[in-house]
Assembly symmetry: C3
Homo-oligomer: 435 residues x 3
């Protein structure tokens, strides 16, 4: 068994695909932690004795102060040139070493690292992980020769896949120098230099594949926040309640629920776990909250319905429907505003990524709203719509397309005024209330 | 007393006036039965010993299998040419017989048949029923000579009525042959051949009139679903609950309520009978449901208000107001969508029937929505509007006119986007929540 | 100490600035009283032995029948020419007398009158009250010479104020004749004749100033209804309940609440005082009502949220948000209609007064709606908007500007209809309800 393996944590993602959110995805808060905390296991296999984190210059200081089971150094990848560039940025730290590459966007089974290192027998140059896809997925497919993985084919197209296995996440590489030189000799201009280099190593050396049961969770697109949230609510939530919690009459709590300090929950509200509620948050009267994360210092107001959604800190709601949606933080919504989460035809929901209409593979998906946004009363945001930071959406708007940051979006003056020819009598109580 | 009377049930209505609904009106479901079940009494007077049902070819099989107190045959009326055509279609079954004609669209007091046959004394050729109208109604008015009915005048116009009695529903005719030959000799081209034939019989033979107290219930126009529903909820509802009913905390049930098998009713909901809830339906949290029929396999969602409405099977609601409305079945409504049921001027509500604007004589009437319709969040459907089958109404639409079947109706893009010049501070908690 | 002082109550305001409301502001109802009842103390200082009320001809009869601690007469000010004209109208009643002038629009600490009369020592010609402003306010500022008030400067502009003291409310004048002749000799054409006359008296005679701690409440602009309401709820509300009150299960009452005769409050509703509810009013299910006045014969319907608002008699609501708003009376709102009370930028809310855009100095202010108005479902009324009497606002309208009386305002037909190419299957229950 190899000793003194270096863990290389890649945490330098540019986040173009992560728009509209402005928080770095590695630092995106979940429960009382960050994405990074959930992605990196609390304990490392004993073979790993040091660690290097590759990140952007903006996050250098943050990562210098994180606590890991082994000593770590931070290196900065100046330009977001992908995985190959990240490994090159770490070359001083890994030269001549055995390495495990871990991607900080992914949350996988913590036991996977141990399994991978067990598979790193002396005759093996590298260990890969892959998941078995049932239908075509635009990823890198493993090429096999007699059960041995000998290469990766990027996005081969449906019906042209060399196998059912899609490569993902980290790798073990016995000799980082070989990887570095394979990267150096790549002539690719595209963003798959790393996969090309890995393929060339696989063609010449023995690699082992570890199939991963079930799907892992990855934070690439903004709607992936909901996948990560579901994962951490299912696996990372510690039910309980903090200090000075005030729960009023006829509040129903079911399933695992965490309630932070100073939280107040008002009458006739139902909370169905898993649900996390951050410190100082006020859950108003007659709410229903299911399978959701609510940050700190929020007010949900009267009559709000939050279902399978991420509501960041300092959001202020009021009689809203928040379904399968993400509010990054400091988002307010006026009374009656809704985030619709289902198409009329109940089909897959698409969302723009750059100029491309992307199938999110979800039939239920609401809005993705960056921080510092205000939405007026009775506005309706259509499924899959993204709203950029510091934007205002006026009352009554039916928003059917993405809105960039710093937008001011108001309903056109859609009414006419003429003279009213009808008279309303003062005594109108011809209708009797039956309640 | 005449014996061996044949009951002729007219159940061949074309249903043009019944649009947008696609279900045959005779088979329209109410409670766990159909309109036909409520229209035809469970017991017949002993004089009636056989029955013939006149229907369209599409319903022949259905009616062959209905159970009646006496043996019955089914005859098909090929073209929907009205009552006269229906009687002619049954001529083989009624030749030389005494008959009672019953219209399957109408629900009248079950004792009316007995009264009518009692009045069928030997010196009487026919017995009619009529109701006394207080204001002008566009129907057939009875013409009297010295207290004896001697004819019918169709839609004479306000102020020109020969009496206050409006002919309706079924008749007893001593000798069907006379009626058949009067129909055969009519030269009318309009749809009142039957009334003309009846008038000519009345002019020559002795007829008796039975005044009917109170208004009967008839299913001609789509809003009549609400009248029939009220009638059957008042007279046909058996309060009780089925198996595996789950009623959560703080649910209030008042008045007569029937709850089907596997129904779940969630917290803080109030149900005020008469209300019928079909099997497997889920009534969500914080609902109010009054004087309504809810079919099977529905979900009313959070915060819905259903008042005096018919909600057919497989409807899926969410924070809606459904007032005095009809949802035929498999209708979904997004959060905040409403079916308005009262004009701003609180006047009579009109609805289109063909090309004619028809006064429904109701001040409270919502929408009439055919099966397989989807309505987006925060849409508002105006009083008296009808929506055809397989249509989509987009979020935020204010629908002020009928929509034909297979329509796709979306809000115009009614907003403008400019640059937001305001900044929202991260620390916005200047407002203190008081809940 | 002067004896036999005449109190002059000025109650002749024209109310142009008080639009859209049609009720005379002196008679505007609060709790079971009027503005006048709250403005005029229940007990007078003993020096005051008679009273004259100056009012418009329309209110003469009303004021002749009010009950005051001392005998009173009513004089009519024919034209609404301001304070000077009002004093002149009363000249027969005050000639040769000492007077205290009280403005019926203002509610001040009842002890202020006593303090003012105590300060009316023999060497003093007049006593004024003023409040100390922290920031510029467009009122009349006191000019001092060596601590003695010697004049009033109207609206000097920010940075040009002669002192921090803003003159308000009533005055004591030792000799009304001097005031009357100062008014008579004024050559001002503007509406500050009274202040000019007062200034000229102050320049020649000794005046005393009484600083008033805290802000008094004045009813000049329509949004001042909310200030007066807050004042009377805080100081004039007697908690309790009338006869035949019916409060259903799970109703939560907190703080001081008055509930009138025959009031019914339905399930799952929360009321947080101070709140006043008038006779015969029905508070529906699942409401929240805070810091508000609700008049008599109202129905709040299902699911309504009323916060810091004035709801006059005979209003009919349904699933509405009424925030920081005034409904004069006989106003109806359809399901989902909202009165928004906060700008998206959370800035000061402006409202038109005549042709001028007026800063209300409020960040929370909803709509001001005159009597006999109907608002359709899902309409959204923007902060600070005023709606004139006998107007209709259609469903779905986003009303962003004032509407004059007798208006008929409807949403433009903002939708398109094409053919629906999608099919909805009858069996759509792929989603499982989790509630």
């Amino acid at each position: 068994m190899k000793k003194d393996v270096v863990m290389v944590i890649l945490a330098a993602g540019e986040g173009k695909r992560f728009r509209p959110f402005v928080t770095d995805k590695n630092l995106f808060p979940f429960l009382d932690k960050t994405m990074f905390d959930f992605a990196i296991p609390k304990e490392f296999p004993p073979q790993i004795t040091s660690c290097v984190i590759v990140t952007s210059s903006g996050n250098r200081e943050y990562f210098e102060h994180v606590t890991l089971p082994v000593p770590h150094r931070v290196v900065v990848q100046e330009k977001p040139t992908g995985m190959a560039g990240a490994v090159v940025a770490a070359s001083h730290e890994i030269a001549g070493r055995s390495i495990v590459i871990v991607i900080a966007d992914d949350i996988a089974d913590p036991g996977l690292l141990t399994t991978m290192l067990k598979a790193a027998r002396p005759d093996v140059m590298g260990v890969l992980t892959a998941w078995k896809s049932k239908s075509y997925f635009p990823g890198g497919y493993i090429v096999f020769r007699e059960d041995r993985p000998i290469g990766i084919r990027e996005k081969p197209g449906a019906g042209k896949t060399p196998s059912d296995y899609v490569y993902f996440g980290g790798q073990y590489i016995e000799n980082a120098d070989l990887l570095l030189s394979a990267i150096a000799s790549s002539d690719s201009k595209s963003d798959d230099i790393y996969e090309q280099a890995l393929s060339s190593l696989m063609a010449e050396h023995r690699f082992t594949l570890i199939p991963h049961e079930g799907r892992f969770v990855s934070l690439k697109y903004p709607w992936h926040i909901l996948d990560v949230m579901s994962y951490v609510l299912a696996h990372g939530l510690q039910p309980g309640r903090g200090k000075h919690v005030d729960i009023k009459n006829n509040v129903s709590l079911e399933g695992p629920v965490y309630i932070g300090n100073n939280v107040r929950i008002f009458e006739n509200t139902k909370i169905v776990g898993p649900v996390y509620i951050g410190d100082n948050t006020v859950i108003g009267n007659n709410n229903i909250i299911r399978d959701s994360y609510i940050g700190a210092n929020c007010v949900t107001g009267f009559n709000t319905d939050i279902t399978r959604s991420y509501v960041g800190d300092q959001c202020w709601l009021h009689a809203n429907y928040i379904g399968d949606s993400v509010l990054e933080g400091n988002v307010s919504m006026g009374s009656g505003a809704i985030l619709a989460n289902l198409r009329l035809d109940e089909g897959d929901i698409y969302s723009m990524v750059g100029d491309t209409r992307h199938n999110t593979q979800r039939t239920k998906l609401g809005a993705m709203i960056a921080r510092d946004v205000r939405i007026g009363g009775n506005a309706s945001i259509m499924p899959g719509v993204k709203i950029g930071t510091n934007s205002f959406i006026g009352s009554g708007v039916v928003l059917d397309a993405d809105i960039p940051a710093d937008s001011f979006c108001v309903a056109s003056r859609g009414y006419t005024v003429t003279t009213n020819t009808k008279k309303i009598g003062a005594d109108r109580h011809k209708y009797k209330a039956k309640l």
